[in-house]
């Protein structure tokens, strides 16, 4: 095969990703989920996603291939979300930071002073984890647990696990260090895991409701 860079068709490869219907459909679905959870309002989420995708179409030359497009639109979407949040309430930032502090304390309380699980917090075996995806109630619990994360933890977690961006891409998009990323993901996973266990996966008798 010849070098694709040298082909005349290479010029259109930047926009080929934009013409890939199923890919765009998946991307849009992921973006809506991400934005809805961040903004807590499906209409604002729709608007933000619409604008981010419109930006991608307008700047089709700025990226090459599917992965680059995905990174690119999520960078725009993240900024749109930040704009909406800023306009909405200045106090959001403060309460978000407070929540992050409280949540960090809760994480610290999972372990004793030597760093070992406290007996009540030690993860137990989960029943039928593969069945959960077919249960609509499970998804309610999943969403509730995601929404209960401090916003910055949720953002990083979603960029990593829903959008499947790489660690480097997330650090670039959010302007955080790799160390910060690892700490945030560790905390988010500890907390999300605990929430899912308490509200879904723990054995029947132990479920709180």
């Amino acid at each position: 095969m010849s070098n694709p860079e040298a082909e005349p068709a290479a010029a259109s490869s930047s926009s080929a990703a934009l013409q890939d219907g199923p890919f765009i459909e998946d991307l849009r679905r992921q973006m809506i989920k991400f934005a809805t959870l961040q903004l807590g309002n499906p209409h604002w989420a729709e608007d933000a996603v619409q604008e981010a995708l419109a930006g991608a179409y307008k700047n089709a030359g700025a990226f090459r291939g599917h992965a680059a497009l995905k990174t690119w639109v999520f960078a725009i979407l993240k900024n749109k979300i930040a704009d909406v949040l800023r306009q909405r309430e200045r106090t959001v930032e403060v309460s978000a930071l407070l929540r992050e502090d409280e949540s960090a304390d809760e994480i610290a309380a999972l372990f004793d002073e030597r760093g070992f699980w406290r007996a009540a917090e030690r993860p137990v075996g989960w029943r039928d984890p593969e069945q959960a995806v077919h249960d609509r109630q499970f998804w309610r619990v999943f969403e509730t647990c995601l929404e209960a994360l401090p916003p910055q933890w949720a953002r990083v977690f979603m960029m990593r696990e829903l959008i499947e961006l790489t660690a480097d891409e997330i650090c670039d998009a959010l302007g955080i260090t790799a160390g910060n990323l690892h700490v945030t993901l560790h905390r988010a996973r500890l907390r999300l895991r605990r929430c899912l266990e308490r509200n879904w996966f723990a054995e029947e008798g132990k479920r709180p409701c």
Partner: protein, 67 residues
């Protein structure tokens, strides 16, 4: 011995990058003795699979199947 806090941190990090040889050895030794962290490792995979299924619209399918 690695604490559970450190072991869960390494388990989490291993989802982003390959751990060093030394980290892998210490983690393996810890997991042989700690059922809590062993469960934690399994749960991380379940959480990852669930997040991807969610992003792919599995929750909407579960809704439709019921209605």
């Amino acid at each position: 011995m690695l604490s559970c806090n450190d072991a869960t941190r390494l388990l989490s990090e291993s989802q982003e990058q390959r751990l060093s040889f030394r980290e892998r050895m210490r983690l393996t030794a810890h997991l042989m003795m700690c059922s809590g962290c062993k469960n934690f490792g399994k749960h991380l995979h379940v959480v990852r699979e669930a997040a991807r299924a969610y992003a792919a619209g599995e929750d909407e399918r579960a809704d439709r199947e019921l209605s």
